[in-house]
């Protein structure tokens, strides 16, 4: 039994004094109560429970309220949303292991492997349309991003529907600056080309630092930047073994070392701001929004942030580099999982399945209600079709640099890679170590070979001990 965190969104939910919530399963519950009179109809025998983390709980509660409204859930059986504090995976796992009554929870690639084997979450392939469950899973499965099926299937069975699917590690551009440098539409097609273009831009001395790489001090900052740059260029095989538990294949003298060399080169040449090593995510975002960089390595959904005039100076001028010769970035996502709740009676399971479909697919009226909300509010994606929705296109088309960027994002998401090691429980510890080790290669406190060797040895040790 292990619970380790990987997804970026999960790290956002990590808070300082986690222990209280972890060690004793300290949990806080909220209930949404709206005094309304509902017509009688089929109803669950108890309130359904969804556990979430700290990201936008208000939006989640509004979504759930909509579900209760659509299904005319009586007031005393309203669906409950519990916001857990601390590390979400560990807190969720504590609850699941204790057999607490939960219907829906968030799940991540490695958690899916462990929790499905423990029998805490249910496979969803066999969900059939009934008078309560609106859709057949066969209809839904074909519409998902392929990587979702890959990341969240265990032994061929799918264990949830997407909460969000995003690509972390794309190249965001500042089109205004690029135009000034005469390099509009001259996008790099590989990581090596990116550094070449950065070198050219640096010589023009238009800004102090042409590139803002994802080397900031968060678990999803510098370690992810490293992993994605390697697997984008060399495939998953360049980092990990194909078979579980996906031990390390990288070593001194392989692509991994090349990547660090590229990094050190950029650092020494002054193409990147040295303060990036102590930045946190808020700073990292704000920095690019100052408009003083040509490129930033970031998640594609920050196109929303960068094009928002309330938050960014480059609103309307931020675009994204399409994938041509290689994919960009890695998969950052989570799913809604159906929990194997023991005290279900009558139609409770079907209501839970309906809730799952409401959240991860469409509401009972055939609309992508939740998916569209996330897309419009936060530019988060769930399914390819959501991005093709005319309303979404209209809203984002107006904000983005060009409306074709939506297609670029769709393309990026359809070929995004998932680091294989994320399906194994040992990865998180390695990630934390990488977070401290990688900067040492940049600042010169350790040589590149030493850092690669340490990372490899640690990965071996951790993957063998499980």
């Amino acid at each position: 039994m292990s619970g380790e965190k990987i997804s970026r969104r999960r790290y956002l939910e990590l808070t300082a004094a986690a222990v209280g919530g972890l060690a004793v399963g300290g949990i806080v519950g909220y209930s949404l109560r709206k005094p309304e009179v509902m017509p009688p109809g089929p109803a669950p025998t108890h309130s359904m429970v969804m556990i979430i983390g700290g990201f936008k709980p208000d939006v989640v509660r509004e979504n759930i309220a909509e579900f209760d409204r659509e299904w005319s859930i009586p007031m005393d059986k309203r669906t409950e949303v519990q916001s857990l504090s601390g590390d979400l995976t560990v807190a969720t796992e504590t609850k699941l292991a204790a057999g607490a009554p939960v219907d829906i929870c968030y799940s991540y690639p490695y958690a899916t492997t462990t929790w499905s084997k423990a029998g805490w979450i249910l496979p969803i392939d066999d969900i059939k349309k009934t008078d309560i469950v609106p859709y057949d899973m066969s209809e839904i499965k074909g519409k998902l991003y392929p990587v979702v099926v890959e990341a969240y299937s265990v032994e061929g069975k799918l264990y949830g529907l997407p909460y969000y699917v995003s690509d972390y590690g794309c190249i965001l551009t500042n089109e205004e600056l690029l135009a000034k440098a005469g390099m509009s539409d001259d996008y790099p097609t590989t990581w090596k080309e990116l550094y070449e273009k950065v070198e050219v831009l640096a010589k023009k001395h238009i800004v102090d630092y042409p590139l803002l790489p994802s080397w900031y001090n968060e678990p999803f900052g510098i370690p992810w930047a490293f992993v994605l740059e390697v697997i984008n260029q060399g495939g998953n095989e360049a980092m990990w073994a194909k078979e579980y538990p996906h031990g390390p294949t990288f070593d001194v003298g392989t692509l991994a070392e090349e990547v660090l060399k590229d990094w050190k080169n950029a650092w020494d040449n002054g193409w990147v701001p040295k303060g990036v090593l102590t930045m946190k995510q808020t700073d990292f975002l704000g920095e690019f929004a100052t408009g003083k960089y040509f490129y930033q390595v970031n998640a594609e959904y920050y196109l929303g942030y960068m094009n928002d005039p309330a938050r960014s100076k480059i609103a309307g001028k931020c675009s994204i580099v399409p994938p041509k010769k290689q994919p960009w970035g890695l998969l950052d996502s989570a799913i809604y999982s159906l929990v194997n709740r023991k005290d279900r009676k009558d139609k409770d399971l079907e209501f839970a399945q309906a809730l799952l479909e409401f959240l991860g697919y469409k509401n009972r009226y055939g609309q992508y209600y939740v998916g569209k909300r996330w897309a419009i509010l936060e530019f988060l994606k769930t399914m390819p079709e959501v991005l093709e929705d005319p309303e979404v296109k209209a809203i984002w088309g107006a904000k983005l640099y060009r409306v074709e960027d939506l297609d670029t994002v769709n393309k990026l998401l359809s070929i995004v890679q998932i680091p294989l090691a994320w399906k194994a429980p040992w990865y998180t510890k390695w990630n934390t170590i990488a977070q401290s080790e990688l900067p040492l290669a940049l600042t010169g406190q350790k040589s590149i070979k030493e850092v690669i060797k340490t990372l490899r040895d640690k990965a071996e040790e951790l993957s063998k001990s499980g």
Partner: protein, 291 residues
């Protein structure tokens, strides 16, 4: 000579003001900016488009954003509740600590126990364990005793921090007060209690008030226990709220506004206290006490 002294004092004051106020000015500067302006390089020393929207949004209202021309909703953090709860808890802690630590400090200060200093150093030494390490056992105790989720538990936890600390500080303070005045009052016919209340405590009042102020601030600024015991509940205090704002994709300008509002209570306390200490100027013709 006098002029030289005045100049030195003036320079000292100027530097002190600069040192103290510059970061505070920066906090307020950011708190009045829109998000986009807060991230400008090089930074603006004065908001070009000043706004109070951050304060409004932190308190739970919606506000108009000039830059985007849209109304932005409330920030979504219980800042208002946090402010109120923090003020209540800190006040209670301060009052109770003064009531308990003053006589305790007096007894410790006057008592002729062998190895008393050692005892107290041990007590203080035990506090060197980083709070982080004691979180789990405290949470377990707290849960069993019903401390979680209400302010009473938090008050007691804070008292466990302030009382030993303040007793320790007051101990030295009481010990350095001239014993003769006390003895004199006893000779004049005061009972022990009267001597304590009417002679000793007034003499030590600057110290006692100091302790009260300290306890208030320690409790107000304490975040670890506040986090564990009140996070997510209606009893949440300010520091956990600020922490949550930091760990999510914080909007720096709203955080600055929340922090600025959090300064109101401590500032008032500081002003009140400061006036008090101005009144105190103990003139004692009796001999010096050297520790």
């Amino acid at each position: 000579m006098i002029n030289k002294k005045k100049i030195i004092i003036a320079i000292g004051c100027f530097l002190l003001i600069l040192w103290t106020l510059t970061p505070i000015y920066w906090l307020f500067n950011i708190s009045f900016m829109y998000h986009a302006e807060a991230y400008t390089s090089p930074a603006h020393f004065f908001p070009e488009k000043p706004t109070i929207s951050n304060y409004l949004r932190a308190l739970g209202f919606s506000a108009y954003n000039e830059l985007s021309g849209q109304i932005e909703g409330p920030a979504g953090y219980p800042v208002k509740e946090g402010l109120i709860n923090s003020a209540i808890v800190a006040t209670a802690v301060a009052i109770i600590t003064v009531i308990i630590a003053s006589p305790a400090g007096y007894v410790m200060g006057r008592l002729k126990l062998p190895r008393k200093n050692l005892l107290l150093i041990l007590l203080l030494g035990s506090r060197t364990l980083p709070p982080v390490a004691v979180l789990i056992p405290f949470y377990v105790i707290g849960l069993k005793l019903g401390f979680v989720g209400n302010i009473f538990g938090l008050i007691i936890m804070h008292l466990s921090i302030t009382i030993p600390l303040m007793t320790w500080i007051l101990m030295g303070f009481f010990a350095s007060l001239p014993i003769e005045v006390e003895k004199a009052s006893r000779v004049d016919g005061c009972t022990r209690l009267q001597s304590l209340l009417y002679v000793v405590f007034p003499m030590a009042s600057s110290g006692i008030v100091a302790i009260g102020l300290l306890s208030f601030l320690i409790s107000y600024n304490e975040y670890l226990f506040a986090w564990v015991f009140t996070q997510g509940t209606p009893a949440v205090t300010l520091q956990p709220v600020l922490a949550t704002m930091w760990f999510m994709i914080g909007e720096l300008n709203i955080m600055a506004a929340a922090n600025a509002m959090g300064l109101i209570a401590p500032t008032i306390i500081c002003i009140v206290f400061q006036k008090y200490i101005m009144k105190l100027r103990i003139v004692d013709p009796v001999s010096i006490v050297i520790r």
